[in-house]
Every structure is written in C-alpha cells, then in structure tokens.
Symmetry: C2
Subunit: 373 residues, 2 copies
C-alpha cells in the first residue's frame, strides 16, 4: 500500500483567509475570538502568578502549537499533554518542558517516548503502578539522563492513581530505584471541590517521602474544574488546566468566567423552521459533540435566551424556541452557540479559525488532532 492511497482530502479549500469577514465562514464551524483568548490566557496566568504556582496548560483543549507558545509567553512553565503524539507535535514546535499525564504502555509507545526524551530536555511522565514503572524502566534503563516520573495519586477523582499516601511513597521509592528513571514528584487530577482531600493526601505522602529520605521535586495539581481552588492546595507547586483558554458553558457554570469570556463559538445556520417553536440548525454531534457535562441540553444559543438545543443527531440540532424570543430565528439566520465543552469540539476539526471583531485573523491547523495516541 502506498502512502498515496492513504491520504485523504482536507478542509483546506473551504477555509477563509485573513481579512475575510466571519459571515463568509461556512457553517458549522467553531471560531475563536482573539481578544477573549488573550484575556483568558492573561487572567489565569495572573491568578497562578499571584499564588506563586507554576502553571502548566493542558494542550488537549486546543492542540495548536501557536497557542501553546502564547501560553508560555504569558508565563506558563511548560505544557501538559495526554498523548505521546501530542507531545511530539509540540516538541517539533520548539517546546521542551512537557509533562505527559498518562500511563504509557506498550513497546511502540515506550520507544517513541525514549526517542522524544533524547530530543528534548524537559520531558516528564507519570505512573500509578509497578507495571507502568517496569515498562518505563525497561526502555530507559542505561539512559545517561533519567526520565522524571511523577506518581499519579487518586485523591478522590476516581480515575487513575495510587489509592493511598503509603502506596504513593512506595511507588516513588520504586521509581527512584529504577534504572533510567528519577522520581519526579506527585500528580493528581482531583474531583471538583476536592481541595481538602488533595491537601491531606499530599501532606501525608510528603511526610512519608521525607521519612524515606526522598525529595519531591514537584507537586502537580490539576483540572479546570479546580482552577480557582488551586490556592487551597498549598503543597502544590504547579497547576494544570486546559479548558480555560477557550472557556465554555461548563466553565461559566462553574463561575470561572462570564459568558463574555467564552472565546469559542460554534457558528451554525438555521436550515429549517418546521413549526412555530422548532428551529433546526446544521450543527449536530459532529460539530457540538454529545458531551453534556451535566447539562440537559447541547449548548447556549446566543441572542435567544429561551432557546434550548433539545436534540442532536449527527448533522442536525433541534432547537425548542419556547416562548419569549419573539418569532425566533428565520431560515438562513446564522447563530452563535457556546458549546457545553470546548475540548471535544476542537478535536472534530482539522483547522481552527480565529477572528477579531468579526474579521478573520488566522487559520491554524489543529495539529495534534486525530493522531490517535
């Protein structure tokens, strides 16, 4: 099979050019407001600076190297990735301080991790089991420069992570003793509102590490849901967050920002008005995704406060107009929708369109989308 038979068309012929008006952008499409983007980057960095916390943005939200550079220029320490392929793309773009917060497993992925480590100075990984540590050490053994590995701690989030401070200490000691690895610190993705649990888990772990004579170079707390609780975890040295750069309906609900800070809008067009109270738009799950994040409907329709996107199929969104917005939007009217969750919307599109005051400023490839692992 040749590479040629594998290539696929792209959306490039459909993209606008800088200077084009947003009205010329075909729907459905997410677009990013440059001023809101810059405001979000600056505001969260200021908060982290004020707390004396290093900030490590998670690039899963945007997957665009240019935006990571903007985050770093504003003061971020480095970046957080979830996949090796993501990390490779950002390393290619010149970023050296990368934490991959995922248990890396399998010969092919471990080989790529080693290769990336040899290319950049600041690669760090995480582990929550002896098996993952053994996999890492099996590949990194003998490296002149060890790979820092942080212990992932389950402080109540209920996903990955060691279950107790005792287990955290034991795994730290195992990493410390492993050929080619260095104990890099502690990492957690906490449950929302779990600052006290995080603090207690870290305090007990630090005491245990100290008793074992192990230094803890970093304590990495995380999550946009816990973003403005970061100062409550006084033991943490850094915080990771992704969604804040675009913001979305979920971060507005969390009180992290106002609707006027939502940099991403999904542009959609009304394609049908079957009844007086129903409008159908050209954005469905393949533009908005089916992520609810606790909401009962599928995004916020700007300009129509009574409208609710009650149903999505793949290419259609069904809006119940309710009462109180007058006749509602006409066929052909373009709507702006604040999605429930930006990160999954980004992941659907090969390119992202940016604008200022309705004029397209740039088009960025969503470079790390669709690379699988």
């Amino acid at each position: 099979m040749s590479i040629a038979t594998r290539s696929r068309p792209t959306d490039e012929p459909l993209l606008p050019r800088p200077g084009d008006r947003l009205e010329s952008v075909s729907t459905p499409r997410p677009v990013i407001d440059e001023d809101r983007l810059a405001g979000n980057i600056a505001r969260v960095q200021r908060y982290m600076d004020a707390q004396g916390l290093s900030f490590r943005p998670h690039i899963k939200t945007h997957k665009i190297p240019a935006l990571a550079h903007e985050q770093i220029a504003a003061g971020a320490r480095g970046i957080n990735c979830q996949k090796i392929t993501e990390a490779e793309i950002f390393a290619d773009a010149g970023i050296e301080d990368i934490l991959i917060t995922f248990n890396i497993w399998g010969a092919e992925k471990l080989a790529r991790l080693l290769s990336l480590h040899r290319r950049i100075a600041g690669l760090k990984a995480t582990a929550d089991s002896a098996e993952t540590v053994a996999g890492l050490s099996g590949v990194f053994a003998g490296e002149s420069r060890p790979l820092p590995v942080l212990v992932e701690c389950d402080t109540g989030g209920g996903r990955c992570g060691v279950q107790s401070p005792e287990d955290a200490v034991a795994l730290a000691a195992r990493i410390h003793a492993a050929d080619g690895l260095a104990f890099g610190g502690l990492m957690t993705y906490p449950r929302t509102g779990g600052a006290a649990e995080v603090e207690a888990f870290f305090a007990a772990t630090l005491a245990g590490l100290s008793a074992r004579g192990l230094d803890c170079p970093a304590i990495s707390n995380g999550g946009t849901p816990s973003l403005f609780d970061a100062h409550l975890v006084t033991s943490a040295t850094e915080h990771r967050a992704g969604t804040y750069i675009y913001n979305d309906r979920s971060t507005v609900r969390a009180g992290h920002c106002g609707e006027e800070d939502c940099a991403m809008h999904v542009l959609a067009t009304v394609v049908s008005r079957p009844t007086a109270t129903r409008a159908v738009i050209d954005a469905g799950t393949k533009a908005l995704t089916s992520d609810l994040l606790g909401f009962a409907d599928h995004g916020l329709v700007l300009g129509y406060p009574n409208a609710r996107i009650v149903g999505l199929s793949e290419e259609h969104g069904v809006i119940d107009l309710g009462a109180g917005d007058g006749a509602g939007p006409a066929i052909g009217e373009r709507l702006r929708i604040v999605p429930n969750h930006t990160c999954v919307v980004s992941n659907l599109f090969d390119h992202m369109i940016f604008h200022r005051d309705g004029i397209v400023t740039r088009v960025e490839p969503v470079a790390a989308r669709g690379l699988v692992w």
Copy 2:
C-alpha cells in the same frame, strides 16, 4: 497565508500495513472485521430485495468511497449523503446516484451543489420550506437538466420536514413550478416504530399529489432504527440506512443483529488498575464519543460481561468491573469494545483499519471526515 501553513500532520506514520497482526495496532483505534462487514451489506440488501425496495445506504457511517462501491455492487441503488462535501468525495470516486437529505442553504453551498449537479447525472436534494426551494431555484434557474428535489416530511421524527400532507403537496407544487427544479418525490426520517404514521402521511400526500396531477417519482423512507420495519411502509419505493454496515450496540439492542454482526470494535488497552473493581483504559470520548443513545454506559466490553464503562473523560475510560469476571483485565491487556454508536466513532479517525481473522487487510482513508459541510 500559504497552504503550507495550513497543513497538519496525519496519522499515516502510525498505521499498520496489510498483513500486520491486529495486536500490532496501537490503541485506541476502531477496526473493522471484513467478514462481518460483507455479511451486514449482504443481509440488509437481501431484505430490501425481498421487499422490492430500492436501497440507498447512508455513507455518513463510514465516509469511505470503497465501502460505498461495495454497497452498490451488492445491489444498492445509490447513496445518501448529508453534506455537499461528502457528496463531492463520493462523486469523485465515480458514484453518480446521490441523494443529499439536507436543506442546502447559502450562496457558497448552492454554487457547489450546482457544480456537482453539472458533473453527475443522479444528484437529488431535499427541501422542507419555500425558502429552501427559492434558494435552490435561484441558483438552478435556467439549467437544461432540472435538479430533482424531494419534499422532506416530518412524519413524527420531530426534526426537519413539512408538518402535514397538505403542506407536502403545496411544497411539491412549488418545486414543480420552480425554474431549474423538478419534483423528485417524498422523503422522511421517521421516529422509531412510526411505520403506521409514515404510511398514513404518505398515503394522504399521494392522494393530494394525484388530485393536483403531480407524479411522485420516489418515496424515500429511512433510518437504521426503522430498517426492518421498512416493509410496513408499503408506499415507499426506497429505504435509506447507514449504521447497519458496521452495526453497534444500539442496533444489537434494536434486535437488528447479534453481537457477532458488530463489525466495528474499538481496540483499547488497560493502562491502570487502581482498585480491585476499577480498570482504566486508554479510550475516552476522543475514541468512543459520549453518545449514549439511551444507554447508561459507554460501550460493551467483550469478554467481560460484568464490566461497565461507567465514565469517560477525553483520553480515559473508567470501567467498573463489578463482580463475576474474576480478577478482571490486567494492566496492558487489550480489550475490544462495541461502541454505542459507530457513526460518530468513524468521524473521529482519519483512517480506518480493516482485518480478517486478526490480520490487517487494508487501511482506508475516512475520506469525507472533517470536511465540515
């Protein structure tokens, strides 16, 4: 801006080659079983043939021209697309009979529709409003060969469509009278179990059309949920369905097939076993999507009947192992998951991997993915 700055990496370096074992495919990844695929294509075509119905597969599920050719070779009349860009890709691949079941709106899209119509003999569109018909006629006026336009009817599905047989007849007459357009028939996407409603709506509409002296060239019923009810709509001349080609947890639940007919499995790897009852896999919403389709969890884990994927974040799936499957999968174990909904999984990946008995047979670009409209 040059095209170069717009291009993005692809997953091509990560793809297996024909002859590779499935075990070498990096996770997370959907893969397609060739024999099940062929069985699904044949079985549904046989059913449609037995009912004397034309069959028009919806390509949204796979977005792969080679598969559309397999569907047509089995006896399908043509294809159903939801977007112009999808239709263009399949026309480029030599398919001429294409029905786009979407209200096309906007100058740029209408211009592309006209251009596509001039290229292929069998393009057909749909409309559910005078506004959409006016838009189409505004661009197609004067064409020597009119564009057939079907009237979309809301027979209970609650999405797009005229609301009554009287409105259907009136819109048919409007299309018939419009310069550059021809009345192409009736189309519906019914609610599940709505065959009697569909039949009543179509019967009344046909009577009205007959009273106006209007021929009805086609009656297009649709949907995988209504797939094996197609014979209950005796007025229909064709049926459209997409999901049947891969099948998924939803079509098993509907009784359309058995689990052994699910051609798509999402391959995932266990990356963490934090507790005795919890396993975490490397497939989250960016591999399985958050489509629930009425299920309470996120896919069927083969080999572990008590396992439930209770939570997804973007790159993690949290499995509650419950009791009864022994110790459950170990870290590093590869799992196969039948997703709730195949169509949205396809849409996340740039390439699809096919296999027979665990040996990779081919890798197809998901050619019409991410083209936006």
